[in-house]
């Protein structure tokens, strides 16, 4: 029986982690993730979970501890945000290169400078090329459900890769919302026992992780990493199917909202997608065929499926809560790449919104949808990339 509660996103995810019974958890605080690991530490202290906590002195050490524990042969977790993820950077590549299925919630927060503790996607977008699987979450329920599924995806014997589960800092991590918890036994059964693959602690079969590979095989090694990423989509879909059987909640590679017959569409991640859906409904009520695509699996990115979902639209705006200064927003580049392969493609624009936690309001979605409506009828794009909600 599911239990309906009103909790913060951080608490929801801490519970998902607890229900998966990890062996080791590396802990280092950073706003807005801190109270997720604080909650998890209280589970350990109160005997609710038997995870071994490792308190470290930095996020670089935190990821290093995870790498060691995972290579040793355990189910391993940590969580971070912003500067913490940035400090982990070199170790992120080692976790994925060594094919270690570490599960890490990332509570998305802006990067310094200037110092800002609020939610945007700069941190995780900066880590998109680290070889980690990335799954993004709209609300507390999504974040909880995605965290549970992440164990099955990352630990799958055909995959063995680390997974980041992204949720918006403060907007989701610190807001209380209604959501449903699954029973501990259901989650335990769904996630299953941790299966080892070449553990270092198997002393009868000594092995080495992270050796020196030069021009002889490095190229092949990286090709193999690419190859395994191509298998992730199917595993994500299979795991989602099983999850739906258990929970009744449906997940895919992305969510299509009123997109089937849409003329204009927004592509938007996480919590802002929810706000946008209400505005899409009001445009539909006015007779404007608006729709929305909310990516869920961002790495590997499902290019063909996204192109298929957007191919009948006339104008699309990709909304980025992160920027690549001097370039387009990171998600715009992906959508653009996906659509390029189509013979006939929609007009495409890019809006940067909500940096450093700037509120994303329904009025912003209205503004963009009105502009898309004009582009759809005139075929003319005023400007490709633009910041919205800027104080002039």
């Amino acid at each position: 029986m599911a239990k309906i509660v009103a909790v913060t996103g951080n608490e929801a995810v801490a519970n998902a982690l607890r229900q998966a019974s990890p062996d080791v958890c590396a802990i280092y605080p950073i706003t807005p993730q801190t109270d997720m690991m604080q909650k998890y530490a209280s589970f350990i202290a109160n005997g609710k979970v038997s995870t071994e906590p490792i308190l470290v002195e930095s996020e670089h050490s935190s990821m290093s501890a995870c790498i060691g524990a995972s290579a040793a042969g355990g189910r391993v977790i940590t969580a971070t945000s912003s500067q913490g993820l940035a400090l982990m950077w070199e170790m992120l590549h080692i976790a994925s290169g060594d094919r270690l299925p570490i599960i890490m919630p990332v509570v998305n927060r802006a990067l310094s400078a200037p110092l800002n503790i609020h939610g945007d996607h700069s941190d995780a977008m900066g880590a998109r090329d680290t070889g980690w699987i990335q799954i993004w979450s709209e609300n507390a329920q999504d974040a909880y459900d995605n965290t549970i599924q992440a164990f099955r995806i990352g630990e799958h014997m055909d995959i063995r890769l680390p997974v980041m589960v992204c949720l918006d800092g403060f907007i989701i991590s610190h807001s209380i919302e209604r959501m449903e918890y699954l029973e501990d036994a259901e989650v335990k059964n769904f996630v299953g026992e941790f299966k080892n693959f070449l553990p270092l602690l198997d002393l009868d079969k000594p092995k080495s992780y992270g050796p020196l590979i030069l021009t002889d095989y490095y190229h092949e090694y990286k090709r193999a990493q690419h190859e395994v990423m191509t298998k992730v989509k199917n595993v994500v879909l299979d795991v989602a199917k099983d999850f739906e059987k258990m929970s009744g909640r449906k997940y895919g590679l992305f969510e299509s909202y009123r997109l089937d017959d849409a003329d204009i569409a927004l592509v938007i991640l996480n919590s802002a997608a929810g706000t946008s859906k209400d505005v899409i409904d009001s445009f539909r009520n006015k007779g404007i065929k608006a729709g929305l695509l909310k990516p869920r699996l961002f790495r590997p990115f499902p290019y063909e499926e996204v192109a298929e979902a957007l191919k009948n639209t006339k104008a699309v705006c990709v909304m980025d809560r992160a920027d690549s200064f001097g370039g387009y927003g990171p998600m715009f580049m992906e959508i653009s790449s996906a659509l390029y392969q189509l013979k006939e493609k929609p007009a495409l624009i890019n809006k940067i919104y909500g940096l450093g936690g700037r509120d994303y309001m329904p009025s912003h979605a209205e503004l963009v949808l009105n502009e898309l409506n004009e582009i759809a009828s005139s075929g003319k794009i005023r400007i490709v990339k633009e910041y919205i909600g800027v104080r002039e």
Partner: protein
Amino acid sequence: MAETTEIRWHGRGGQGTVTAAKVLADACLSGGRYVQAFPEYGPERAGAPLRAYNRVSSHELRMHCPVLEPDIVAVADATLLDSINVSEGAKENSIFLVNTTKAPKEVREKLKAGKNQKVFSVDATKIAIECFGRALPNAPMLGAICKITGLITLEHLLEDVKKSFGKKFSQKIIDGNLEATKRGYEEVKEG
């Protein structure tokens, strides 16, 4: 009540306003409703003005942004009436609740409330001091919100106050808060 009720709380850091929003969200879960409670996060300083929000709905709440047009405005500290515009974005039928020693009529004049806007006042700080000896107006404010909105029954609210305060405080403080919640419910006046 409309399908979705949106509440904006105004308080000062350290008054328990954020806790009040959280307790209300939890209490409103009953009957299969959807709830949200979230503060506006700034530098957290005692005494600084802050806002917190609630949404309560029979439908799934997808909106993740501050409440701009509140159905209910709850002011936990009357000194805020002089420094910020608590009526900002209020609808023509919004309800105001202010913690003040003043009569609701005076508050109505101060707010320049419209004829379809209801104004209530409660001396929540006095009730709190009398019930548990501290100037934390959140429990009586919750009692008053319960009375004027009918979102939940008093019995249900008291259960939730007991549950959330029970984790942190002694029996004496919990009893004091329960009494304060009841008195807020009974003593709130319309003007």
